[in-house]
Symmetry: C2
Subunit: 305 residues, 2 copies
């Protein structure tokens, strides 16, 4: 089988990452393509695991938290997903909701709630969002007591903890599914964000004719005993950057429709008194092949003291 | 001609850098060797200039000043020197005092003095050093008005500016040579230093069985109109790490003898009243082939406000 980094798919992806797909192939773009391509080839040749990659990045980036953005923006995090997808396909363990990148903005230890949760602290006047659905096994059976660990940005594109002006764990909750495998949360529709103006990553992306914008999205870890851990995101449809994410996280099956609920009965049923946006989305988890499958990677993550 | 990165010399150097030369070739060491080797190959294939390399490192390392240490410790800075040596040999412009790495601890704008200078502020009770010599052209002619820009650590291995407990420009001066091309300075014998304990670079080096120590050394930029800029260092002989520098800067022609001056007449002639250490060293500069040769690389450097 062709090494993954040599496939047409990944060669075309490297052209995107290096800014060659969208403009003159400058000397700098060619050098960037070579360096990122070499890194992909090394990951493939040594079968570098996600855990190994994140531990290495943590060494290099110990004094540079921005390195999480570099790993996303230069496509390495997406490449690890494509590798995992291919490994699943080879092992016959593909299936369920598609995975996509975690990004560097998760914070462990968010409040745990049963069935229903409100994520926002009420201080941001964004459009109210209700998102709900079930966690299911690939055979369609609901999974009770699954954990939906959700985090997203505010309407300025900022994440609590990293944005210290927000309250603790704002837009961050762990929701345990009920007996029918259901989760439900109220929050606000997040906005996309851009890498920090003037940062090294922003300067590097501009130098190769790229931007550092992400479309609006909501992150999830979904886990349940006996099932494979899922790291994923959904995108908010209609965002200008929906198919032009600097972190390459958008996947077709992760763009659920957003409906506007204006029926007064449904509004009241949601404990609201004005129209709101609604997303219905089920997470589908394959059965775990081994215990390691049940957990997320050992990537170092932010902890609240 | 064999690409430089594929020569036996550089392949053996990669074994050192990756820690393979001094122990079991672990998986991690092999991956490090692959990544550093790929970087060398990219620099060679694209004929990346020093200026390009330092500008790229500045992008990546904008929020991580430690990256200067990574470039030194993983041999990239030495590799750039070997490339420059080879380019000189090919162009028939070799000669003069050997170059070696600049390191990340230069500060621009040190006080300029004529002929003689004292570098230390008197607060460090190290052994007094007098170093002197001439700046010469390769034909043996002395060069008046050359600038010897010197910087070194204190007896704790720390550099002023980065070590804010020291006075401004301690152990940093620019000395203009006199009509006979002579420079002379009084200072103290510096100590070697190690990368910061617990830093990312220290953890990365330990993970591949390497240390982060440098032998005692003194840095120089030497420049003169019409002559090629020289970036170099001398080592203090006798240091335990003299031939085991984590930054690979030691070169045979850059280890001048240190003599102890005990003759009272010579002591008084140096305006001293106790025995001292003395190093005599001439810097030899080839003629510049073009204006660009006269200056140092455009590597971003620390500036004092």
């Amino acid at each position: 089988m062709t090494a993954l980094d040599k496939t047409l798919e990944i060669q075309a992806f490297l052209d995107q990452v290096a800014g060659i797909a969208n403009g003159e192939p400058t000397r700098l773009k060619k050098i960037v393509r070579r360096i990122v391509g070499d890194l992909f080839a090394t990951i493939e040749a040594f079968d570098v695991t996600d855990d190994e990659f994140w531990q290495a990045l943590n060494f290099v980036g110990q004094s540079a938290p921005e390195f999480g953005l570099w790993a996303a923006g230069f496509g390495v995090e997406h490449f690890l997903d494509v590798r995992a997808d291919r490994a699943d396909a080879e092992a016959g363990t593909a299936g369920g909701t598609p995975r996509t990148i975690e990004g560097p903005l998760y914070v462990a230890g968010a409040p745990l709630e049963r069935g229903r949760a409100r994520l926002d602290d009420g201080s941001d006047a964004g459009e109210v969002l209700v998102m709900h659905g079930r966690v299911l096994s690939t055979d369609g059976q609901p999974i009770p007591d699954a954990i939906v660990d959700v985090w997203h940005a505010n309407t300025l594109g900022n994440y609590s903890h990293f944005d210290t002006s927000q309250s603790a764990y704002n837009y961050r909750r762990r929701i345990q599914t009920d007996a029918e495998g259901r989760y439900w949360f109220r929050s606000i529709l997040p906005s996309g964000y851009a890498v920090p103006p003037g940062s090294g990553i922003e300067r590097a992306l501009s130098a190769i004719g790229r931007h550092g914008n992400r479309p609006a999205h909501i992150h999830f870890f979904v886990s349940a005993a006996g099932h494979r851990h899922l790291t994923t995101q959904i995108n908010i449809e209609g965002d200008a950057y929906l198919h032009d994410d600097f972190a390459y996280a958008t996947r077709d099956d992760l763009i659920p429709p957003v409906s506007r609920v204006e029926d007064i009965g449904l509004i009241h049923a949601a404990d609201l008194n004005a129209p709101f946006a609604e997303i219905a989305f089920d997470f589908i988890l394959p059965v775990a092949m081994n215990e390691g499958d049940e957990g997320r990677s050992s990537r170092p993550r932010a902890l609240v003291d």
